[in-house]
Amino acid sequence: MDLKELYRDVILDHNKRPRNFGKLEPADSRADGHNPLCGDRLTVFLRMSGDRVEDIRFEGKGCAISTASASLMTEAIKGKDKADIGTLFGKIHSLLTQQNAVADSSLGKLAALSGVREYPARVKCASLCWHTLNAALERSAGARNETPAAVSTE
C-alpha cells in the first residue's frame, strides 16, 4: 500500500491550511475531544439556527489525519441540519471502518479519508472530530452555559 493512499494531497493541504480553524465567539455549543493514545485534542464550536448548523469552527493540536478530518468535516457540514449530519456521520463511519465501503458522491472531499481504514491505529484520529461534533450537537439541544461536553476515543 502506497503512503499516498493515506496522505493524499487533499489531506496534506487541509493539514497545512486547516479551514474554519479557530474559536467561534459567541458559540451556541462547544465540545472537547481527546485521543489519549496520541495526545490529540480538539474543540468544536457551533452556532446553530434551529436544527441547522449555521457556523462551525474548530481548534486544537493533532496529527495530519486528525486536523485534516476536522477541517474537511467543518466544510462538509456547514449549513446542514442534524438529520443530514447524522446520515453523513454514518457514511463516514462506514468509510473509515469497512474494507469494501464505496465512497458515494455525497461525501465529496471527505472521500479522501478512505485510505485511513488500511491503518487501524489511525481510524480514531479521523473519527475524533466527528464524535466531538456529535457531543457538541447534543449539547446544543440542552442548556447552553454548562461546562463543555468532553469525549474521548478511549
Binding site: 503512503l3 496522505y7 496529527c63
Partner: protein, 417 residues
C-alpha cells in the same frame, strides 16, 4: 561490574550480528521491509534462550508450586525459587526474601503504595516524585494522597531533562516520608543520580523507591550500592516475558508491611477466627504466580549477563551517540531530552510532521518507534509538546538500524513536503 563483562561469552565488545541470530523475530519483515525494531523501551524482544526456557518448563516441569509432594510440583517449585535466586544475584540483593515476584513495575509500585505508604502516611506527610516520571510512578502516589490526606511534591527538571538536584533537596524535609523516582526516564533517556537522591532522602528519614524499568536492561544495577529501599522493574523490557516483574524491598521494611492481597500461598494457617500470614517473600505473593514468566525472566538475566552489561551499555551508548548526531543533521529535527547522562533512548520531533504521522510513515518503512506522550503527560506538558517520537535501542540494534531510521525520516519529510 567489570568482572561480568570480562567473563562474557561474546567478550566485552558486543558481537551484534551474533546477538541478532538469537532473536528469531528480527528475521521477519514489516510492510515488505526488514523489521527495524527501535521500540525496546516499550517492550524488548525475546532471545531463543528465553523462549526455550519457557517452553522447556511448560513442556516438562509444570505443576503448581509450594503445593503437593509430587515430582512435578517439586520441579516447578525449584524452577520458581531458582528464578528468585537468579534475580537476587542480578540486582545484588542481600536475600531472596527481598525479591517479590509481581506482574511488572506497575504492580510493584502499587504494592508499595498500598502496603507501605497507605497504612502509615497521614495528612501533613509528603511524597516526592520528579517531573519526568511515568504515570505508573505518579498515579499510585496520587491514590495514596487521596486515601491518606498526604501531599505529592514534584521535584523539577530542566528543559534538557535533568533533575534540578538542588531544587529536589529543597523539597526534602522531615515531612518527606517517601521519594519515588525513575532510574532512567522512559520518555527522554535521562539517567537520574539515584545514589545522591537516596542519600539526601535518607538524611531526612525518607524511604526511596526507584522505578528501574528502563535501567535494568542497560546497566548493572546493585540495589545495595544504590542504597535504595525499594526497586521495581519488569521482565519484558529485559528480554524476558510479559506479566512478570520484581519488587525488591529491604527485608526489614517488607517485614513491617501488611500483606497486600490475601489468598493461597501467603498464609501459614487459616481459620475463621484467626489467620496467620506466611513469611517473606510468600506474604506478598497470594495465589498461583506466573511461574513460567519467572523461569523466562531468569533465562533473560542469564542471557544478558552472558553478553555482559558493560558491553551492552557501551554498545547502546554508541548507538545513542550515532543516532543523536545523525538526526541532528536532518533539517527540522529537534532532539527532546539532552541530559548529559543518557541511556538508550532518543526522543525527537520533526517540524511540520506530528509524531503520530511520523510513526505511521516510519512503520511503512519497517521502522518501529514509539510515538505519543510515553505515559508521561505531565512531562510532555512541561516540555510544551503533545507528543514525541522515540527510538529506543536494545542489544540487537545496529548502526544500520540508525541509518534506516534516518532514511525513513527523509521519507517523512518527502511525504509532508
Amino acid at each position: 561490574m567489570a568482572a561480568t563483562a570480562s567473563q562474557a561469552v561474546h567478550g566485552p565488545i558486543l558481537d551484534v550480528e551474533r546477538v541478532r541470530r538469537d532473536f528469531p523475530i528480527l528475521d521477519r519483515t514489516v510492510n515488505g521491509r526488514p523489521l527495524v525494531y527501535l521500540d525496546s523501551g516499550a517492550s524488548s524482544q525475546r532471545p531463543v534462550a528465553v523462549l526455550r526456557a519457557v517452553e522447556e518448563y511448560e513442556t516438562h516441569s509444570h505443576a503448581n508450586i509450594h503445593r503437593g509432594v509430587h515430582a512435578l510440583s517439586q520441579a516447578a517449585t525449584e524452577a520458581f525459587e531458582g528464578a528468585r535466586e537468579r534475580v537476587r544475584r542480578y540486582i545484588n540483593a542481600r536475600s531472596t526474601k527481598e525479591i517479590i515476584f509481581v506482574r511488572g513495575t506497575t504492580e510493584a509500585i502499587n504494592l508499595v503504595a498500598q502496603s507501605f505508604a497507605r497504612p502509615r502516611f497521614k495528612a501533613g506527610d509528603e511524597i516526592i516524585v520528579t517531573a519526568l516520571e511515568h504515570h505508573a510512578n505518579i498515579v499510585p502516589w496520587q491514590m495514596v494522597c487521596e486515601q491518606t490526606g498526604c501531599t505529592l511534591k514534584v521535584a523539577p527538571i530542566n528543559k534538557r531533562g535533568e533533575l534540578l538536584f538542588d531544587e529536589y533537596v529543597k523539597l526534602l524535609s522531615p515531612r518527606t516520608k517517601l521519594v519515588a523516582i525513575a532510574h532512567v526516564s522512559n520518555a527522554l533517556g535521562s539517567i537520574l543520580p539515584v545514589k545522591r537522591i537516596v542519600d539526601a532522602a535518607h538524611a531526612q528519614g525518607a524511604v526511596v523507591l526507584v522505578d528501574g524499568a528502563q535501567a535494568v536492561p542497560h546497566a548493572h544495577v546493585d540495589v545495595r550500592a544504590l542504597g535504595c529501599d525499594f526497586y521495581a522493574f519488569s521482565g519484558h523490557k529485559l528480554y524476558g516475558p510479559t506479566g512478570i516483574g520484581v519488587l525488591y524491598g529491604r527485608e526489614e521494611l517488607l517485614e513491617s508491611m501488611p500483606p497486600w492481597q490475601g489468598g493461597g500461598d501467603m498464609i501459614l494457617t487459616v481459620s475463621f477466627e484467626k489467620t496467620t500470614y506466611n513469611g517473606l517473600p510468600a506474604k506478598f505473593e497470594a495465589g498461583t504466580p506466573n511461574i513460567s514468566g519467572a523461569v523466562g525472566l531468569a533465562a533473560a538475566m542469564d542471557y544478558v549477563e552472558s553478553l555482559g552489561l558493560d558491553a551492552i551499555a557501551a554498545h547502546e551508548h554508541r548507538l545513542v551517540e550515532l543516532a543523536t548526531a545523525e538526526l541532528q543533521k536532518i533539517p527540522g529535527i529537534q532532539i527532546v531530552g539532552t541530559a548529559a547522562n543518557k541511556a538508550s533512548i532518543v526522543s525527537f520531533t520533526l517540524d511540520g510532521v506530528h509524531p503520530h504521522d511520523l510513526g505511521t510513515i516510519l512503520d511503512h518503512e519497517g521502522v518501529a518507534v514509539r510515538t505519543g506522550h510515553h505515559c508521561a503527560m505531565p512531562l510532555m506538558t512541561f516540555l510544551g509538546l503533545p507528543a514525541t517520537a522515540r527510538a529506543s535501542f536494545g542489544v540487537y540494534n545496529t548502526e544500520q538500524d540508525v541509518r534506516s531510521l534516518v532514511a525513513a525520516l527523509g521519507k517523512a519529510r518527502e511525504v509532508f513536503g
